[in-house]
Symmetry: C2
Subunit: 240 residues, 2 copies
């Protein structure tokens, strides 16, 4: 089975054979985690770096008043904080959304990769910067887009990320997200997300299922989202 972590890094920098071997070695031990479980909790002293090999996860924060806000989705190949070791404790939680397969990289191993393997280091840096760009894009969405735009924009982001790691089949992507999870991500109520989805459905961009949503036409969603069409197309072409 392909190691999606290796594949992702390969997309950011040309890895040597030895780089690949090291990465595979270091993520050799895989642990299954079942849907709904927290990988990391706020306040935990972070030590090993988690790598998601299969399945989806999300970072989230709980508010004192009881609400929840998701701040990122993690897909196969994504890591939970490369350098957490420099911080004293986690400031958010990470929850697995589907049954998943997860590996961990010990702090010593990670340090070695970062210091002795320039291409790996470079690839991890790039991944980090892309993640940061995504965080900024979320802020823009929440600050300046209406509900339909937010939902559609998030879907475009997820579609492109999935495409970049080869998760798209028949041009479609199944998002394993309930409307409740979606609501926690876009900062709306589940009730309103439901209304948005049914308004979006007639466009043909999505198919609504129980517990998941299928993105069937991302170009339509891009239009709704005010997603930079050129950007989407460029990325789509590259990945094709």
């Amino acid at each position: 089975m392909v190691n999606r972590f290796v594949e992702k890094l390969r997309g950011f920098a040309p890895l040597t054979n030895q780089d690949v071997m090291l990465l595979e070695e270091v993520t050799k031990v895989v642990r299954p985690v079942s849907a709904g479980h927290d990988l990391i909790r706020e306040g935990d002293r972070p030590d090993p770096v988690f790598v998601i090999l299969e399945g989806w996860a999300c970072r989230y924060k709980l508010l004192p008043e009881g609400g929840r806000q998701i701040v990122a989705f993690l897909m196969p190949g994504d890591t939970c904080d490369i350098h957490v070791s420099v911080l004293a404790e986690m400031d958010h939680n990470i929850q697995v959304l589907t049954d998943a397969r997860v590996s961990t990289i010990g702090r010593a191993d990670m340090d070695r990769l970062l210091h002795e393997r320039p291409q790996i280091s470079r690839a991890l840096w790039s991944a980090q910067l892309v993640d940061e760009g995504t965080l900024r894009a979320w802020i823009v969405s929440m600050g300046r887009r209406d509900s339909a735009g937010r939902v559609a924009h998030l879907m475009c982001e997820l579609y492109i990320r999935a495409r970049n790691i080869g998760l798209i089949a028949d041009g479609e992507l199944l998002l394993p997200l309930t409307q409740i999870v979606l609501a926690d991500a876009v900062g709306l109520t589940p009730v309103h997300v439901n209304r948005v989805l049914r308004k979006l459905r007639p466009t043909g961009g999505i198919i609504i299922r129980r517990g998941s949503i299928v993105i069937s036409d991302p170009v339509v969603l891009a239009r709704v989202a005010g997603f930079d069409e050129n950007y989407l197309h460029r990325r789509l072409r590259n990945a094709a």
Copy 2:
């Protein structure tokens, strides 16, 4: 005059004398930039790393429909993307909000610092992680707090950051932000920000001026924001 960049890094990791000398050497050339100017524009090919030595700046994105969303504020000591060099082009703009003094670190110098000076590298990493935490906090604010909460929470963040770098005088902090800029940061309209500010004023937490706002009682704001009181107090105590 103190080099706020050095001071900031010193707060994250114990620097050697040579580290400090190198950092001062590398930020020796200072350029004044007057309020309102863009340091970096979206699409620019990024090369040198900018370091803000004096003054405030913000990162922002413009939307096709004409709106603007600020995604971060930069204070003295902050840098504009340590590793932009690995990306092809900037995905956002950086604008100076006050008259400022800015230095640049060339790509080669930055690489050398990162690879040959472990403490500097570590400090820069920490700074990066803290920035990421701030981005996540913004997402939480925009997603789950009402207008007053958002404004107050942002003010708490800025107060703490300013306090950490020794910018607080008499327990007060002058935010050099117009209500328009504030609105672009919290994702509201200037009109509504104005109403929020006037609702906040009687609490004694802030003083409203033309072109700026003074935070006079952050504890009051923390209460309005639902800002984690322990967190604030802890930070306040540490810095005291």
